[in-house]
């Protein structure tokens, strides 16, 4: 038939065949649901359809996130170790008071709950450097991947690959490398240097905590920035070239300003992610040495969960504090993206 030989007709690729094979049960499923939804649409009218579409997601979300959040709120004003809220004695703001009981807020050692404040301090340091390096390296990598280089797809894949690994695996891999007898120390020794006990020195431990989390997530942010770079119209660069603008100047004057919206997204996302850091660092350094890499989520986890006396009250109070911080950050993000939408 004419249709088959038409060069512009749909090609029958393997991918296409797989897709159609996969779509058979899916189509059947959606068709099946068509009947009740049509009925509901007739019954309730179009105006209520959005609520209907939102319902399943909100139901799950409410059940498994919102209800627990409120339970947390309840825990935070009660004491003891009982799991059931009804059986826990009400203590009012005592848990919060306990968290904030300090002689001198600039020195965690003077606080009643010194670890909470150290965790906040550590999280601050971590977030500052981690987000900074994350943005810097994502940007450099994106700039490089945006160049005309051979095997760009391969390199893009290489930088993205760690994003797929679970936090536990990421930490295990690096722990395995950084141990006293790990391959990195073997390398140092073979170069005639002394071993470094990376997890004994607080600075090194913090360094590796930052390094490993940047390593693991950089690929994701790189892709966002790369998308932004590729969206910059090439004629702008051509115009700059015609003007004889220096490459460095092109970067500062054209690339960076036009990339700014994506940069903001990266910064905000990285920031929010960074505040919640837990698994990777916990497996990697265990929060040590001492409390040098103990972060706020780890504090909550150990207080409420991993202690013999499971202090849900105190942990929940700390969660609420963290929740407020995250909410503020989210509002910042919202403001940022809102402005971006308008601009």
């Amino acid at each position: 038939m004419v249709l088959e030989t038409d060069p512009r007709a749909e090609p029958e690729t393997i991918g296409h065949r797989v897709k159609s094979a996969l779509s058979v049960p899916a189509v059947a499923f959606f068709k099946l649901l068509d009947v009740p939804f049509r009925w509901l649409q007739r019954l309730l009218g179009i105006g209520s359809m959005p609520y209907l579409f939102l319902l399943p997601n909100l139901a799950f979300f409410g059940l498994f996130v919102i209800v627990p959040l409120f339970l947390s709120l309840g825990y935070s004003v009660t004491g003891g170790t009982n799991l059931y809220l009804g059986e826990r004695p009400y203590v009012g703001g005592e848990q919060y008071g306990y968290l904030f009981q300090c002689e001198n807020y600039t020195d965690p050692a003077t606080c009643r709950e010194d670890r909470f404040w150290k965790a906040i301090f550590n999280t601050g340091v971590f977030v500052f450097f981690q987000v900074g390096f994350m943005v810097l390296f994502s940007l450099v990598t994106a700039l490089i991947l945006n160049r005309e280089i051979r095997g760009r797809g391969f390199f893009r894949a290489v930088f993205f690959f760690p994003v797929l690994l679970s936090p536990v695996v990421v930490a295990l891999i690096w722990k395995w490398i950084l141990l006293r007898d790990g391959v990195l120390n073997a390398f140092l020794v073979s170069m005639g240097l002394d071993r470094i006990l990376f997890f004994v020195d607080p600075t090194w431990a913090m360094f590796w905590a930052i390094f490993v989390s940047v390593w693991a997530h950089m690929g994701f942010y790189t892709l966002i920035l790369l998308a932004g770079l590729q969206a910059i119209p090439p004629d702008l660069y051509e115009a700059a070239e015609m003007d004889g603008t220096k490459k460095e100047r092109v970067f500062w004057r054209i690339t960076l300003p036009l990339l700014w919206p994506n940069m903001l997204v990266v910064i905000v996302l990285a920031l929010i992610k960074s505040v919640q850091i837990f698994d990777e660092v916990f497996v990697l350094t265990g929060g040590g040495p001492g409390t040098a890499t103990q972060f706020i989520v780890q504090y909550i986890y150990t207080t409420g969960f991993a202690n013999q006396v499971q202090n849900f009250g105190l942990a929940s109070a700390a969660s609420v504090v963290l929740g407020v911080v995250l909410f503020v950050l989210t509002l910042v993000q919202l403001a940022v993206t809102r402005r971006k939408d308008e601009g």
Partner: protein, 428 residues
């Protein structure tokens, strides 16, 4: 792709179906278990034999990460969810959830006779007569040394009744001569420190039986440990890394002949036998002495029956079987665990090993049991002992890395213990 999808969906349906059908046929008992070595395999063999004799009971061993036993199980039990039996290490902390087996076992007297002192560890407050379970493993803390290194260095090992200071001097000597990086290593664990602290005169409790962690004895031991970390007797790798109460062992460094003396416990025997073999002579030595005693800490993991079970009679039957002298002899013998059964301890377990080092170590640790200080037994039996261990190790760790002074650490230890126990007591 489509085929694969269909198959996995079919498999998924089967998976959901199976959970439903398993409950129908027979009484199923579930044991929440964790493994340090091969004990899971041994237990499975024993359970197979039990099932052969009791065709109406099926026993499933759910091997979990230890983390789950430590962290998830308490929450599950608190929520009223849980297995029929569990292998636990927080003997006192979970004691409120244990089932009293007295009406369900055939001969409670046998239990009292053979497991007497350990039953106390598992008794809930105010239930002095309860039978909750038995020790799958009795552990005794104590040091190992790399005897081969001593021989190579030509240094004599300190003999019986040597103090910790004697040992410190000797291992430093060996390390210096042979250029061994770590003269001495201790597990990063409050439980490990408790024994030597008691040896130094720590009492752990005040006159009213209330916990009183920090006293002169404990301060003496803690100070010694602190100094050892400063002068290089101990490496900061273990105590200086990680935070809080997290456990870290030096077994790999020891197995790699990079540690002269390693303070750990009897549970290392099976894996040393496997990993080190005859590469060098790893030698268990009696607990070094302090002014008050020469003692380690007893401890271990117990198999306990839980209140969440719906089949107490079958649980009793299973426990009867498992606790019999014959079965325990096989279990301890194959796992190379120190028996938690007084009869077997007396008659001697038939350990299934040809390794003279392992045999010697087993004898050493088993022989140390009678010499354990009563304070150590009391501490092991105390419900909130882990609160004390955790406070001890986390604060001492922070002092060693220089985040606080020793005195501040002592103060924080006391505070931590008070705070947690106060929180617990709010439950009423």
């Amino acid at each position: 792709m489509a085929y694969f999808l269909r198959k996995s969906v079919a498999a998924g349906v089967a998976a959901f179906g199976l959970m439903a059908s398993a409950a129908l046929a027979e009484t199923e008992l579930r044991i929440a278990w964790y493994n340090d070595g091969i004990e899971g395999e041994v237990m499975r063999d024993i359970l197979d034999k039990f099932e052969a004799q009791n065709s109406d009971i099926k026993v499933t061993l759910d091997v979990l990460p230890y983390k789950a036993i430590l962290e998830s199980l308490p929450v599950q039990l608190a929520a009223g969810e849980g297995p029929d039996l569990a292998r636990v290490t927080d003997l006192g902390g979970l004691s409120g959830h244990y089932l009293d087996l007295t009406p369900h076992v055939s001969d409670p007297a046998y239990w009292r006779e053979n497991f007497g002192p350990f039953l106390n560890w598992m008794q809930p407050v105010g239930e002095p007569e309860q039978i909750s379970g038995f020790m799958t493993q009795l552990t005794v803390t104590g040091p190992y040394v790399n005897k081969t290194l001593f021989e190579q260095a030509g240094v004599n090992m300190p003999g019986e009744n040597a103090t910790w200071d004697d040992w410190a001097a000797a291992v430093n000597d060996v390390a210096k001569k042979l250029d061994i990086p770590i003269p001495m290593a201790w597990d990063r664990s409050g439980h490990r420190v408790a024994g030597p602290a008691i040896a130094m005169g720590a009492n752990m409790f005040d006159a009213n039986g209330e916990p009183a962690l920090v006293d002169d004895g404990l301060k003496a031991m803690a100070t010694t440990l602190y100094n050892w970390h400063q002068d290089g007797t101990m490496a900061k790798d273990l105590w200086g890394s990680v935070s809080g109460s997290q456990y870290l062992g030096a077994n790999e460094d020891f197995a790699n002949a990079r540690v002269v003396m390693y303070m750990s416990g009897s549970w290392q025997i099976p894996q040393f036998a496997e990993k080190i073999g005859d590469a060098f002579d790893w030698w268990a030595v009696p607990a070094p002495c302090g002014p008050a005693a020469c003692t380690g800490m007893p401890g271990g993991a117990a198999l306990v029956a839980l209140k969440t079970t719906e089949h107490p009679a079958e649980v009793g039957k299973l426990m009867d079987y498992l606790s019999s002298e014959e079965v325990l002899n096989e279990f301890y013998g194959r796992t190379l665990f120190i028996p938690g059964h007084l009869g077997l301890a007396e008659s001697g377990v038939d350990f299934k090993t040809d390794d003279p080092r392992a045999k010697h170590a087993l004898e050493t640790f088993a022989g140390a049991v009678p010499g354990i200080s009563p304070v150590a037994f009391d501490l092991q039996g105390y419900v909130y002992n882990r609160v004390m261990f955790n406070a001890l190790i986390s604060r001492l760790g922070e002092a060693i890395v220089g985040e606080m002074t020793l005195d501040q650490a002592f103060e924080r230890m006391t505070q931590d213990v008070e705070k947690e126990i106060a929180e617990k007591r709010r439950d009423g």
